[in-house]
């Protein structure tokens, strides 16, 4: 009983030391609390992958009422935005090269004539492929437009064919807002930064300045030392989660359909693995510089493989199993499921278990390494 009390006491002391060290440096406190909020706001507004208003130049060489009607219809659903008009198709090409516009629609001379004669009319649409997502959406929209207008089709075919049309129905995020989808990923990245980077560099600093040995001669055990060093950042991390969810809801209308318990459990399990990662990196680096680079060497691939920015289903098959080893993947899935779809623990059992296994595993390995190094 008494030893347990002592452990708790020394844990509190380490927490106090770590807190006073952190809070003493105002700049540190502001980066811990203000930076995530700032990032969320900028991120939230910046992330708009919804492709619309693609700047488009019009080259109407026909200049008839019919061709004008066509170009106006092209811009009707706001996927494309009329940026300007040019006379020559060369000028349209130049505009594409300079990068001011991302698409061009060229209506050749004789368009109206061919329509009137029910010849297959010709229209050309050129799309800048440097941004593939935008190009994909643009070419889908353009081909649908042309298909609907029967351009490039043999007009005699049209009437004889029965068409299966598709009635799309979008669930959970009817307006297809990207910010809503991205928020969980932003959250996961920020937590990784607050916990892993700071733990790794903080421990490396203690080693650099030799204070680790000093603490070692006190009766504090290594595990208690680690726990005490991590706890303040777990608290900062959870405060950040709350702040970001609140702001996300207020500013970006990110829904909160699931239960708070799921989010709390998921965040807690996730922090286990990020802290473990931080400690692990600290045990393999001998300077803060190495700890910093090592953490980024982990954070960046984790971000890419988590499915936070690009869908996992688009990755090659051999790579997909590796993403199961990335804690961030599971956390992002939990947060998305809970916030957007109202999933409960049962729905997310697989992700929770994976996160728990990874967290305990990483933490156990790194604490063992840390102990061995100090011994």
């Amino acid at each position: 009983m008494k030893t347990r009390f002592l452990v708790l006491f020394s844990l509190l002391n380490v927490v106090k030391k770590e807190l006073s060290q952190t809070l003493r440096d105002r700049r540190m406190l502001s980066t811990l609390l203000i930076a995530p909020v700032l990032q969320l706001v900028v991120f939230g507004y910046a992330i708009d992958l919804d492709v619309d208003r693609i700047p488009t130049v019009v080259c109407d060489q026909d200049g008839t009422p019919r061709s004008r009607e066509l170009t106006e219809a092209f811009f009707a659903d706001r996927t494309f935005l009329r940026w300007g008009d040019v006379r020559e198709s060369n000028a349209a090409q130049d505009a594409l090269e300079a990068g001011g516009v991302a698409a061009a629609i060229i209506v050749p001379r004789g368009f109206a004539l061919r329509v009137a004669r029910s010849d297959a009319p010709e229209v050309q649409i050129i799309i800048d492929g440097t941004d593939p997502t935008r190009a994909q959406v643009a070419s889908n929209a353009a081909s649908q437009f042309l298909l609907l207008r029967g351009i490039g089709e043999d007009s005699r075919m049209e009437s004889a064919v029965t068409i299966t049309s598709l009635a799309p129905h979008v669930m959970y995020n009817q307006r297809l807002k990207t910010a809503i989808y991205m928020l969980p990923g932003v959250l996961a990245t920020l937590l990784l930064n607050v916990t892993a980077l700071i733990t790794a560099m903080g421990l490396a600093r203690e080693r650099e300045s030799g204070t680790l040995e000093q603490i070692l001669v006190t009766p504090i055990r290594p595990a208690v030392l680690l726990g005490g060093k991590c706890l303040p950042y777990v608290m900062f991390g959870l405060v950040d989660v709350l702040a970001i969810l609140l702001l996300g809801n207020l500013i970006f209308d990110v829904p909160f359909r699931g239960s708070f318990a799921v989010i709390a459990l998921g965040s807690f399990l996730y922090l286990f693995s990020t802290l473990g990662m931080g400690i692990f990196i600290a045990t393999v680096s001998s300077s803060q510089q190495q700890a910093m680079l090592g953490t980024f060497g982990f954070i960046l691939p984790a971000m890419l493989l988590s499915g936070f920015m690009s869908p996992i289903s688009s990755m090659p098959p051999w790579l997909r199993p590796f993403t199961m080893l990335i804690p961030m993947r599971h956390y992002v899935e939990i947060m998305r499921g809970c916030l957007l779809k109202g999933a409960d623990v049962g729905d997310l059992a697989q992700q929770m278990i994976a996160l728990a296994l990874l967290g305990v595993g990483i933490l156990a390995i790194s604490v063992a390494r840390f102990r061995k190094q100090l011994a």
Partner: protein
């Protein structure tokens, strides 16, 4: 002038020794871009394909089966599950197993046989807006093409009337490689530079440096040069690997390319030094550098998120992000073969930023000492 050069070289020499002694950091700094490039090149793809699909076939006729098969034939969709009823869609979405559900209504085959136009329904998990939008477009195109009796692939995007320029296959790799170069340079240059001055403060060796006749400008410049060299090696590495492994074309001139890279490097090193001068501890300096250089470059340069979609005030802020100009210049030179005249504006902007940031760092450095 000669003294100035000698002192700067001395500081640079000292910094090079620091870098060499911490050789693991160098390996990390050079290995990280390669890993990123591999991941972006082989793994990460913004192209939406293999969308996991479930089929709820209520009709169970050859025609309805054909419809389901047509949808997965092109590789845009992968059939992950079959559902007995559309009511199961909700659960499948919630666990994240599928992202789209095709519902073929009862009587579909009969109506098709009678020559009536029919309707199938596609439920889409809209939480990932981009994937959902592209998947819906793809599905509509496939079904239209299938019912017009033509091959789905031909009609989809590369119909004869629609031409995609500069990157005809719409491969995201091209975009990625230029993005990775910008991101990696921004990150490694600014983060590494942010540690340099702060380290001297932390270890107390700054006082020793001040006791020597070396001035502030010489210290900052001397610290900057080795990292500029390291960054340049990274640029070379990423561009070489990108063009060899992923066939990223280099259509413009190499001189323009490296000129732009050097200017961008200086701007990022300036940001890092500024963070270092303000922070005084390595941990805080890294956070500052991330906030000042890496985050803006990642979010506002137009690499991942198109600038024209941002609200006006954010577009205005993005004008102050050097990465934006570098990315435009880089994409222009690599993919479009733009020459110096086209990218001159971007280069001037980069030069202004690097001079401004470096002078700001020197100025703050002086104030700290007084």
């Amino acid at each position: 002038m000669r003294r100035f050069l000698r002192r700067t070289t001395a500081v640079a020499h000292k910094e090079v020794l620091h870098i060499i002694r911490d050789s693991r950091a160098v390996y990390l700094a050079l290995g990280l871009p390669v890993v990123m490039l591999m991941l972006f090149g082989y793994g990460i793809s913004q192209d939406v394909d293999h969308v996991p699909l479930a089929v709820a076939d209520l009709d169970r006729t050859p025609a309805s089966r054909h419809l389901g098969e047509a949808l997965v034939a092109g590789g845009d969709f992968v059939r992950e599950a079959d559902l007995a009823s559309p009511d199961d869609a909700e659960a499948a979405f919630r666990s994240g197993r599928v992202k789209a559900v095709l519902v073929v209504p009862r009587g579909y085959g009969r109506e098709l046989a009678r020559g009536v136009s029919t309707r199938a329904q596609l439920l889409v998990d809209g939480s990932d807006g981009t994937t959902a939008a592209i998947a819906m477009g793809d599905a509509a195109g496939i079904l239209q093409a299938a019912s017009l009796g033509r091959s789905a692939v031909a009609s989809l995007s590369q119909g004869p009337r629609i031409r995609v320029r500069f990157n005809p296959a719409m491969r995201s790799t091209y975009n990625m490689v230029s993005g990775v170069i910008v991101l990696i340079l921004a990150m490694v240059a600014s983060l590494l530079a942010s540690l340099t001055i702060a380290r001297e403060w932390e270890r107390g060796s700054m006082e020793q440096l001040f006791a020597t006749p070396v001035g502030r400008v010489e210290i900052l410049l001397g610290k900057l040069v080795p990292y500029a060299g390291l960054g340049f090696v990274q640029t070379l590495l990423v561009i070489t690997l990108g063009s060899y492994m992923f066939d990223v074309p280099i259509r413009g001139s190499l001189v323009t390319l490296f000129g732009a890279s050097l200017l961008f490097l200086l701007a990022m090193l300036g940001t890092g030094l500024l963070a270092s001068v303000i922070a005084k501890s390595q941990l805080v300096a890294v956070q500052f550098a991330m906030l000042l250089s890496y985050m803006p470059v990642a979010m506002l340069s137009g690499f991942m998120f198109p600038i024209e979609n941002m609200p006006g005030w954010l577009q205005a802020i993005s004008m102050a992000v050097p990465g934006r100009y570098y990315l435009t210049a880089l994409r222009g030179v690599l993919l479009k073969g733009n020459d110096l005249a086209v990218v001159a504006g971007d280069l001037v902007a980069l030069a202004v930023f690097s001079v401004a940031l470096l002078s700001l760092a020197v100025w703050r450095f002086r104030r700290r000492l007084a």
